[in-house]
């Protein structure tokens, strides 16, 4: 359903409107000859984001390139953006799940647990990839995992409830190969299990390094970790 109105087609459609109108609009407010009311809401949204100076798309970003690419949607983004909320149809969910599973790569030598003490700080830290007027300098600090923003882990710090509690994760689930793979996959690309989940894809987006994932997993699974007290 969502797939039948691809954004690309919308973009093409309004690009021709602009050409027909014979003007390029850069000023924040001026609508010039571009008729907002002649566009669908999807087309207008894309226009405001990329063409009408709605966002500072030229800012440089940590991964190289400009902020514009942060606003360009990939296939998952398009499939999982349902206006009004909820999930897309089953066929779309299945496609998202399949693509996510295919995106996962494993470290050479298999999944490892790193240093839980480093993992503790990484699971707490929200540092990394923020831009705007106060951009994160990755030269200063490692990129954090933001896990506590959404999850409760060890109870010495207050975690969020957007995701389920992970308190006692290793203690209750054990450290079998299967559960380690599941946890790794969840961190790397959670859409492989929960298509259109709200949890970010920390591995396939390049947000976290393999070392950071190993440290965070140690924090979840190491018997010494306060998560498993």
């Amino acid at each position: 359903m969502f797939k039948k109105t691809p954004v690309a087609a919308g973009l093409a459609a309004f690009a021709s409107i602009i050409i027909a109108g014979g003007c390029a609009v850069a000023d924040a407010g001026k609508t010039g000859n571009v008729d907002y009311t002649a566009m669908t809401s999807q087309e207008l949204a894309e226009y405001l984001i990329f063409e009408a100076n709605g966002f500072n798309v030229d800012q440089e970003v940590q991964e190289g390139g400009t902020a514009k690419q942060r606003l360009v949607q990939d296939e998952m983004h398009k499939a999982c953006s349902v206006i009004g909320g909820g999930k897309p149809d089953q066929a779309t969910l299945d496609a998202v799940r399949t693509a996510a599973a295919a995106s996962i790569t494993y470290p050479e030598g298999g999944i490892q647990l790193g240093d839980w003490q480093k993992g503790r700080e990484l699971a707490w830290s929200g540092f990394g990839y923020r831009i705007g007027h106060n951009p994160d300098d990755h030269g200063n600090r490692p990129v954090g995992g933001n896990c506590y923003n959404c999850h409760q882990l060890a109870t010495d710090r207050t975690g969020g409830t957007v995701g389920p509690s992970l308190t006692g994760y290793g203690k209750t689930r054990g450290t079998s190969e299967a559960i380690l793979k599941y946890a790794y996959d969840m961190i790397y690309n959670p859409h492989a299990y929960f298509p259109c989940t709200n949890m970010p894809r920390f591995g396939s987006s390049g947000f976290l390094t393999q070392d950071a994932i190993a440290d965070i997993m140690a924090y979840m699974f190491d018997p010494e970790s306060p998560v498993n007290e």
Partner: protein, 278 residues
């Protein structure tokens, strides 16, 4: 609470006859708390206690003086500024933003309209501190905005949708609200479409619950954590920063679309102006 009485008085006197409008901001919030079970509305006992002494209340008087004072290169007051209900009509104007203005041919949020009047009526330019300084209690824009907003305290959000441009901007804002993108795959709805969820200790307002959402969109608000009064545009910018998306341009079309949608989601519920936030 002597200060409370002192501060509440000018607000009450300045406001009109609607029942809600004679309440202080904390009374409007209390009414919402009584109407619905919401951990977002009640999350800060401390703020509820501090609201009668909110530093934002002091800005109302400062803003009022600034508004009526002859200023700028043209040495005139802002009394002829049309906020949509006719020149000089301030009561209830704030809750009817964003709105389409014939004279500019575009939908404007309140802050953009204020700046427009300061430029066209008073003759200020972008380089003047009056316009350039956008952040903090000391900024003219903060004071003026807090003053005019206070004259809509207790009024129901009612952004107009009569003009097709108003509807178009609201609908584009809705698309943007649900549009996932960026390094963390977030859209606004990732964090604002469920009730009682938290990011760390912060309870998230649900955009689908107007009684919660009216508090969420009630800006200007004294941000306790920032020790300053902030506007709606600050909050939009802050959430985009957390989302790792591109930064919305101040007064730009992205801001206007988002604010058109978010005020519409609070439609019918009383605004808390000025509010106090965490």
């Amino acid at each position: 609470m002597f200060r409370k009485a002192l501060l509440a008085l000018p607000v009450a006197l300045a406001l009109g006859a609607t029942a809600n409008a004679q309440k202080a901001p904390e009374d409007v919030l209390q009414g919402l708390i009584d109407s619905i079970d919401s951990s977002y509305l009640t999350q800060s006992e401390m703020n509820l206690m501090m609201m009668p002494d909110s530093p934002a209340l002091w800005l109302i008087d400062d803003g009022k003086d600034l508004f009526h004072e002859a200023r700028g290169p043209n040495n005139v007051s802002l009394e002829t500024c049309d906020f949509g209900k006719g020149p000089g009509v301030l009561e209830g104007a704030f809750v009817e933003f964003p709105r389409f203005f014939e004279d500019t041919g575009r939908v404007m949020d309140f802050e953009s309209r204020l700046v427009h009047c300061m430029k066209t009526i008073q003759g200020f330019t972008d380089d003047d501190p009056a316009i350039r300084t956008k952040h903090g209690n000391a900024a003219d824009i903060t004071k003026l905005q807090t003053y005019v907003a206070s004259l809509s305290n207790g009024h129901a959000w009612n952004p107009p949708m009569d003009h097709p441009m108003e509807q178009a901007m609201r609908d584009a804002g809705e698309v943007i609200f649900y549009r996932r993108a960026g390094t963390m795959d977030f859209s606004c709805s990732t964090c604002h479409a469920a009730t009682g969820k938290r990011i760390r200790a912060s309870v998230l307002p649900n955009s689908n619950v107007p009684e919660e959402w009216t508090k969420a969109v009630s800006w200007p608000a004294f941000r306790v954590g920032h020790d300053n009064v902030r506007s709606a545009q600050h909050r939009v910018g802050e959430c985009y920063w957390q989302m790792r998306h591109a930064e919305p341009v101040w007064g730009g079309t992205g801001m206007t679309a988002i604010i058109s949608y978010w005020n519409d989601r609070a439609r019918g519920q009383p605004a808390i102006l000025p509010d106090m936030k965490r």
